[in-house]
Structures are given as C-alpha cells and as structure tokens.
C-alpha cells in the first residue's frame, strides 16, 4: 500500500516538474519561431520563469464571479486535473519505472483521460459567462467526436500486440517499432491528429479560441484554479505524447541510452512538435473540424481496422 502511495507522490512530483518544463519549452519555442528571445531574466535563459509564474498564481486572489453555479464552478478544475494525474499511473517510463502495470492499461488510460471533458463542460456551464458556455459546448462536442477515431486507431495496436498492458505493448515492439508497419503508420497519424484535438491544441484549439471566445471555458478563472487548467493542459499534452511513444514509437526501448532517457526524448520530441504546430498554423472552424472527424478520420480508421484485421486473421 505504502509503495503505491510513494509512487503516486513521485508521479505528482513529475507532473509538476514536467508542466513547468513544458511551459518554459513552449515559451522558448514560440520565441524562437517569432524572432524573439523569450524569458531571459529569471535564471539561466529564463529557466526559473515557470517557478516565478507559479508563485504569482499562488498569491493571486481567487475571484468568484457573480451568479456562478458554485458547485460545478468550484469542482471543474479538479475534474480536469485529477484524471490527468490518474492517467500517469500506467505510463511506462522504463522497464522498471511504472507505477502500476495494469493488464487493461490502454483501456484505463483512454477512459480516464476522457473524464476531462466533464470538467471542461462544468467550467463552461458554471461560469455564468456566454463565452465560457460556448467554449464548454464546443469542447464537449469536439472531444467526444475525436474519441472515436482515436480509440479505433488504438484498438489496432492492441490487436497487433495482443495485450492491453502498456509494458506488454512495449515488449511487443522489441523487434521493430509499430510505426514502421504501414497500417500502424496510418493508425499513428490518425491517433496523433485526434489526440491533438483531444487536448485542444492548435489547429484544434477551438474551445479556447482567443480571437472568438476570449479564453473559452476558463475565461472566468483566475489564480490557482486557472493554474490547474493550465497544468492539466500541458500535462495532457505530455500524456498524449507519452501514449503515442508507448504505442507506436517503441516506448522506452532504444540503443545505448537508458530507457528513461529514450522515453523522455521521444515524448518531449512529440511535445515540441505539437508546440511547433501551435505557433505556425491557423485554427480550423468548428464545423470543419467536426466534419473532418466524422467524414474523414473515422471512416479511415474503420477501414484501416477492417483491412488490417482481415489480414491478421488470415
């Protein structure tokens, strides 16, 4: 029991550090793309900037707007953050570094991360703000639609490896990463696009489209509650990259370097790619995005599943 508790603490510590690092990385990458320096003052090349930001957010007043639906408004940040922490339990950082190697790991991580949408919708509904409401509704529609192609592409990995345990899937890639197999390359692309939409990143950042909805569902949040949404967003980004690494890129496996290093390298590589997209691409429109999910991604994923399944059975 106490071992699990310690592992949980380690996960929490990792999330805090990872979110801070991601925020710093995002600011540096955006600065690099935009001919700027980014944060330079606090610490070496601004490395302490996230710490300063955290302190600022902790000390800020917690403003409660008038007319909020208090329970859903107050609970929403937790509904967004807690599932993210829970998802970390089954992510294999290396051959030994995994909090809990569930035999239904893939199913668990997929179901837990979809709880986030509840929190986002609660925030949108509870804020008593029209922009938040529109953002929350958009988010619910978006995340639920993109769940379908995402799960269909993950299913293919499970079929290929014959196990739902995360370590089992990594072990199945010992003689070649899954992404190198053609049908799984397609599955990876579908997974990564859907996952981008799942975590509301550009070009699918429609729920918090700044130019339309100010800040979307978290418009009314300030201080630490806002920070929780922020941490959840960045941690989510790491989680989808970590899952992509585990399912398609051979997880922690790699020559010479220890497993943990390989895993972090691959995951943060994908995170950096997501950031690169964010600062380069415009945003698609709500209806365009929905029709892309239902008319392009889902049929493609289904067809991919059908054809490769037929070959596997044969």
């Amino acid at each position: 029991m106490s071992v699990i508790f310690l592992k949980g603490l380690a996960v929490l510590g990792f999330i805090a550090v990872s979110a801070m690092f991601s925020i710093w990385l995002e600011r540096k990458i955006s600065a690099w793309i935009q001919n700027r320096m980014g944060p330079m003052m606090t610490g070496f090349h601004g490395t302490l900037q996230p710490v300063a930001d955290t302190i600022k957010l902790l000390l800020k007043e917690d403003i409660v707007p008038k007319g909020v639906d208090f329970l859903s408004w107050w609970l929403a940040p937790f509904f967004v953050t807690v599932p993210v922490v829970m998802a970390f339990l089954v992510i294999p950082f290396s051959s030994k570094w995994i909090a809990l190697d569930l035999n239904v790991g893939v199913l668990y991580v997929c179901s837990v991360t979809s709880i986030c949408v509840l929190g986002i919708f609660m925030a949108g509904w509870g804020s008593n703000n029209k922009y938040s409401l529109l953002g929350g509704m958009r988010s619910a529609a978006q995340i639920i639609s993109y769940e379908v192609p995402l799960l269909l592409s993950v299913l293919l990995v499970v079929m290929q490896s014959g196990t739902m345990s995360m370590q089992g899937i990594v072990a199945a890639q010992e003689h070649g990463w899954f992404i190198l197999k053609p049908h799984l390359t397609l599955a990876f692309l579908i997974y990564f696009i859907s996952a981008t939409a799942e975590v509301n990143r550009v070009p699918f950042d429609i729920p918090e489209a700044e130019s339309e909805l100010v800040a979307g569902y978290h418009t009314e949040y300030s201080g630490m509650k806002f920070a929780m949404f922020f941490v959840a967003e960045y941690t989510n980004m790491f989680i989808i990259s970590a899952i992509a690494t585990t399912l398609f890129l051979g997880g922690w496996q790699g020559p010479f370097l220890p497993g943990l290093v390989w895993f972090l390298l691959k995951s943060y590589g994908l995170v950096a790619f997501l950031m690169w997209m964010r600062w380069t691409l415009p945003r698609v429109r709500m209806d365009q995005m929905m029709s892309f999910a239902w008319k392009v991604l889902t049929p493609m994923a289904l067809l991919n599943l059908l054809i490769s399944g037929w070959f596997m059975v044969k």
Partner: protein, 363 residues
C-alpha cells in the same frame, strides 16, 4: 429556431480591433443579427478643427487612422492647399508619395498580421509583420521624430528634408520586403487551413459594396477597379506606373490577397519615385498662420479606402467647418450584411478582413 443568445462582443474583446462593440444575436453558434455600436473613442476631432489654425490641425489628423498617419496628413494638407491655392515644390511632392506609399505598405502589413491572428495563427504572423514594419517606423523616426503619429507633411511641403542615408535604407527595405512577401505567401496565402477559413467567407457583392459606398482594398476585392490614385491622380501619382490589384469573389481571402498585392505595388511606386527625386528644398514656404475663404473637398486613397476632407473657410484663421469622410466608417456599414448567417468564427474572420481602425470611425 430556439431562444436567441445575445453576446456583447466588445468593447473589450481580443479581436474587435480597438473599442468596437458588436451586439450579436446568436442562434447557437450562428450569428442571426449583428449591430455595431460606436462612440467609445470619440474625441470630436472635427469640432477641434474649427478652433485651431490650419497648421495646428495637422497633428490631429495623425490620430484618425493611427496606422497610416502619413496618408492622413497628406489628405488634409492637399485639402488646405486646394482651398488656398498653394503650390508645392517638386521635391516635396516626390517625398510625399514615397512616404505615403511606405506607410501604406506597413499599414497593410499590420492588417495582414492581425487578420491571421483573428484566424487563430497565434501571434506568429503578427510578429513577422511588426518586424518588417519596425524598419519603416525607424525610418520615419529618423525623418520626423515620431514612431506612430508622425506629423511630417506640412501645408505647402514637408517639415524637413530627409536625412542623407534615407534613400539607401528605402532601397534596402524594398529588396528585403520583396523576399518577405514571398515568405508570407508560402506561410499564409495558400495554407490549406487558411484557405478553408477565409475562402468564400463573407462574400461582398459588387452591388452591396456600391450601395454601402465601400472603398479601398475591400471594394477592389469585390472586383471593382476603383483607386483614387488612378481615377483622380493627386500629388505625383499620374507619373508612376503601377497596377490596381482586384479580387474575383469579394470574400475574406480576396481582401487579404488584394492587400498583399498592394504592398508590392506600393514598393513599385516607391522604387520609381526614389530614382527620380528632383533636387531642391522640400520645406514649406507658407506662413504658419493664414486666412482663407471658400470651400474645398479632396479625397485621397488611404490604405483603408477613400479619405475625404471637406473644408469650409470664411476668412478666419481657422476653418469654419471640417468634415472628414473616413473609409473605415463606411466599410463597417457592410458588416451586419456580411455576417448574417455565419458562424461566430467566420464573423471574426470577416471583421478581421475588413481591417477597420477605430480611430477614424469615432473621430
């Protein structure tokens, strides 16, 4: 149709470009009705003109369209010169054209950057546009000392001759900006998402454009070839060779593309003008204070459309009446027509493509 949702967009909103307040009636995400409310930036500039001498009013024109101060200065000075029959030295005419066209180019750069920002290309195009604009702002700083409200034109000339190295700086900028324009085309113009977001969105037909007296790039994007610089050449524009880019459909993408093309046409004009600047003294020889009688209307092609100054003088030191016809104000009229039935994201896209400046809407 269910219950309509009223969304008060602005006067403080990231994409209403200043203090515009749009009262949107929405059915879900679809805009059913849009009513723009103005007046948050009203400074009664037209009234101020009646209490200032002609020369004193020039700095106030800077504050109209604050992204194109030089063009406003030019329009006002031309109106006063027409009213009082003042001749302008040739060198000053050339300098005015060069400066006005450079200002037009950087004003369009800001328009393009903010439009991309409205489409969700977060900050990057805006930074690129401002990086290029900075070069011209620095140049204007060395010419007249201002970085936003320049106040360089004077009645009967300009305030001072240009510094020695200016010509070389402008030549370098033209070469640099031409390379950048290719990059913007690659980054934005033919980007799949950008096309999907702006093609066929907010189509302004020729008839509607005419009936709202829409002018400038917005009118030209609808396919009407109308440019005051060609139709009623003022300053030296009839001496230069340039094209008037027009759009095909009048959608948001066309408005964007017309602006992008106009930047290269402006560079063309500047390139021709810089080669042929005559020697002489461009500084105005007119007294600071003078009287006049009569009336005059002068319209000029501003980056956003037709800017008109109507001056009535009855012999005093200051005009009896100064009416300003600002392009953004007329262009904004077409907004409600354009956004009806569109998604809220598209409404923001249409507003961004109109490139309004609140400073000249509320004068």
């Amino acid at each position: 149709m269910g219950e309509l949702l009223t969304v008060n967009m602005g006067p403080q909103h990231p994409s209403t470009h200043g203090v515009l307040y749009l009262e949107l009636k929405m059915d879900g995400e679809i805009v059913v009705d849009c009513k723009p409310h103005l007046g948050y930036l009203h400074r009664s500039i037209e009234k101020i003109a009646e209490n200032r001498t002609y020369t004193q009013f020039i700095p106030f024109t800077d504050r109209l369209d604050y992204l194109a101060s030089m063009n406003n200065n030019l329009g006002y000075c031309l109106a006063v010169e027409k009213l009082l029959n003042i001749a302008v030295p040739d060198r000053a005419q050339y300098l005015r054209v060069i400066i006005a066209e450079l200002n037009r180019a950087v004003s369009h750069l800001v328009a393009i950057g903010t439009f991309a920002q409205d489409l969700g290309a977060y900050a990057t195009p805006l930074f690129y546009a401002f990086r290029d604009r900075e070069k011209i702002v620095d140049l204007f700083d060395s010419i007249c000392g201002g970085r936003l409200t320049y106040n360089y034109m004077r009645i009967g000339g300009v305030s001072a001759d240009i510094p020695a190295r200016t010509e070389q700086i402008i030549k370098d900028f033209i070469a640099y900006e031409r390379k950048q324009l290719i990059e913007y085309n690659e980054l934005l113009t033919y980007n799949v998402i950008f096309l999907a977001r702006s093609k066929n969105i907010g189509i302004l037909s020729k008839e509607v454009a005419r009936s709202y007296s829409v002018t400038g790039p917005m009118l030209r994007a609808s396919g009407i070839k109308w440019d005051i610089r060609k139709e009623e050449p003022y300053s030296m524009y009839d001496k230069f060779d340039f094209d008037v880019p027009v759009g095909a459909n009048g959608d948001s993408w066309d408005r964007f593309k017309v602006r992008l093309d106009e930047i290269s046409q402006s560079l063309r004009i500047v390139e021709q003008a810089i080669g042929g600047i005559p020697e002489g003294n461009p500084v105005s020889k007119v007294n600071r204070v003078f009287r006049g009688t009569g009336e005059a209307y002068v319209r000029t092609e501003n980056p956003r459309g037709e800017l008109g100054f109507y001056l009535v003088a009855e012999g005093g030191f200051n005009p009896t009446r100064c009416k300003i016809r600002s392009p953004s104000f007329s262009n904004l009229g077409a907004l409600s027509e354009l956004v009806k039935g569109l998604n809220i994201s598209d409404a923001v896209c249409v507003l961004g493509s109109m490139d309004i400046v609140m400073g000249e809407i509320d004068r």
